[in-house]
Symmetry: C2
Subunit: 345 residues, 2 copies
DNA sequence: AATTAGCACTCGAACGGGTAGAGTGCTAAA
DNA sequence: TTTAGCACTCTACCCGTTCGAGTGCTAATT
């Protein structure tokens, strides 16, 4: 599929991409010639660049400017030319420390990781926790919250806690509540929330004929609590990093589109969707990303999991001109870290 | 203190402010003359405006431009000249509906309100929930979260739920846990979280001499859970509205400062701090606000409460040139709404 | 056959002058 | 006290010029 380049072409492409990542300016033949130690003259480079332009890897913003990489150029770079710059020991330690230390719930873990990742990368970091619903239940408890409200607390496999208030007028005594709790627990443990929901609906059909008032109550409360599906959470840290990118500072329209996107949970979810199920890094460059109307950003994301279950994804959002050689190892490491920290919860 | 203006001066000031709020452009004498139905000629208006400039209510960005109001000008306008534009019935209904409907926890209530308020006002809306710690406890429960973690769930007066995971290696049985729960509950009910903390520390001192193992455990767990103070929450909705303001679209530096501020919880807390204790609307104009380095924004905020307890504040953040006549009633109504909705939780 | 020097060409950014227009302040008349 | 009149000021905008970076092409060189 992708046309393969000869060595020289590849090297020039690599240098152009890397220079452009660094400067955000079109790259000229002279610059590349210098970077190669003047093994080839600017004129030769020009010929090579003209070829690269024909192949679709480079383009010119206008006739008398240098070249900038196209989406395809970046794609080729990432697929074949990228030299990963692994994290420094100190960075790994920092991430590890911050992620583990002084945080209690699994929610805190991902938030801390996100914050730090955005700081280290100087890009906006997004974490999606979408798969509460894939985690098995460890326990369910019902607590009285007020005279007409009951609090259902669900502890999931691995540190996630969900709670929900249910309206409930029939004055249940503490003992009854405990009994109901017990019923629900018996049904629930080991199931996921959606599975529990289905089970409750089934039981309700059977139960109609039966007599146990409390069991009926248990089913009713359970079905109320699970009526709406479990929402995912989206945390975004370091949005303001977007402002530091010259391409967005100069083009206000692009900036607006991006910052608007950050306000819409659904858009963010779409952007990171591809990474959800996979443990491998997903990179979507510019118009490759699944959201129409955001052709100017790249997303580098990876799923993270808890035991066998995919739990969500973490990713960076920045300009197409991201420093992939650094950003990819960063995201990768953080995702692995999350997975391993969460495993022991 | 504040110099009082004669009728004409006040009217001109009012018209200048209102025109400037609308257009974001310096206002000329001709415009004002027209707005007054040409009762006075531009030349006269110029004299009046020159007076207003001397008094410090207006200023000129440069010699041959119209006038724009100073901070003091806005302050005078808000204190003495503002004509409130009350909300339409439909808006009140909408706010009421969205705030009450389909939400369960008190947290949801404020978030929904915030979102809607930002939409109605077209400004960024901030809600602070800082006073969990002022709410009395209704109940405390301990649940086993995993083999080495216990989940403490605290239900506060009025729909707020706090939970925290505590590391705990000594394998406690369910019965023991229940008993400990009971101990804590006895101590806790009716106290606020900080009060409970103090009480636990006191009891610990006394308890040292005594013998009850479970009671000691209860105190230990309680003190662990309450070690760090209760954090407040800050929700920001509609940040992107800032981008629609011409003054920020044109001045990138200002924009950056504001969006950076949104990333720092502490800055936001400072901005809304004055509103916390008070039920009355607080307006801080430009450099009046307590945060250095944000002289270009105004904050219109009000506290909201639950029963007798101040719970937090809700406010709008926008350019100095906000439409106060509309924004003030909006915030006021929403804050009252929050207070009344939360009261019945 | 590949490379390169040389050169004409193109385009954008930066600079400067000139103009139009909005708005002012001042003065003198009403 | 108000206002008409007028000179003045300043900005925004347009336009032409220049400068420089970078190109493509061609012909000479290796």
């Amino acid at each position: 599929m992708t046309p393969t380049l000869d060595d020289r072409g590849a090297q020039v492409l690599r240098l152009v991409v890397e220079d452009y990542i660094e400067t955000a300016e079109p790259v000229g033949s002279r610059t590349i010639s210098k970077k190669m130690g003047q093994v080839l003259s600017p004129a030769t480079i020009r010929n090579i660049m003209a070829d690269l332009e024909e192949t679709g890897y480079l383009c010119q913003p206008h006739t008398s400017a240098g070249r900038i990489p196209t989406g395809a150029g970046f794609r080729y770079y990432i697929n074949y030319l990228l030299a990963r710059r692994e994290l420094a020991r100190s960075e790994r330690d920092l991430l590890q420390k911050v992620t583990v230390e002084g945080v209690s719930g699994a929610d805190d873990v991902v938030r801390h990781a996100s914050r730090l990742l955005s700081n280290l990368s100087r890009h906006a970091c997004v974490v999606v926790v979408s798969r509460y619903s894939h985690q098995a239940l460890r326990s369910i408890s019902l607590l009285r919250a007020s005279s007409d409200r009951i609090l259902l607390v669900a502890v999931l496999q691995g540190g996630w806690v969900q709670h929900r208030l249910i309206e409930e007028d029939a004055g249940l005594t503490t003992e009854e509540l405990e009994k109901i709790s017990g019923y629900l627990n018996e049904m629930a443990v080991g199931l996921t929330l959606p599975q529990l929901r289905v089970r409750i609906l089934n039981e309700m059909r059977k139960e109609k004929a039966r007599y146990d008032r409390l069991m009926r109550k248990a089913l009713l409360l359970g079905s109320k609590a699970l009526a709406d599906s479990v929402p995912g959470e989206v945390y975004i840290e370091g949005r303001a990093n977007i402002l530091e990118q010259p391409e967005f500072a100069e083009d206000f329209q692009k900036l607006k589109r991006i910052l608007h996107a950050f306000e819409e949970k659904s858009v963010i979810l779409q952007l990171l969707d591809a990474a959800l199920e996979s443990d491998a890094i997903q990179v979507s460059i510019g118009s490759e990303n699944p959201v129409e109307g955001l052709p100017d950003i790249s997303v580098v994301a990876s799923g993270y999991h808890q035991g066998e279950t995919a739990m969500g994804s973490i990713g960076l959002i920045g300009p197409i001109r991201m420093d992939y050689s650094r950003v990819i190892p960063l995201v990768e490491y953080t995702a692995h870290l999350l997975s391993s920290v969460l495993e022991h919860r």
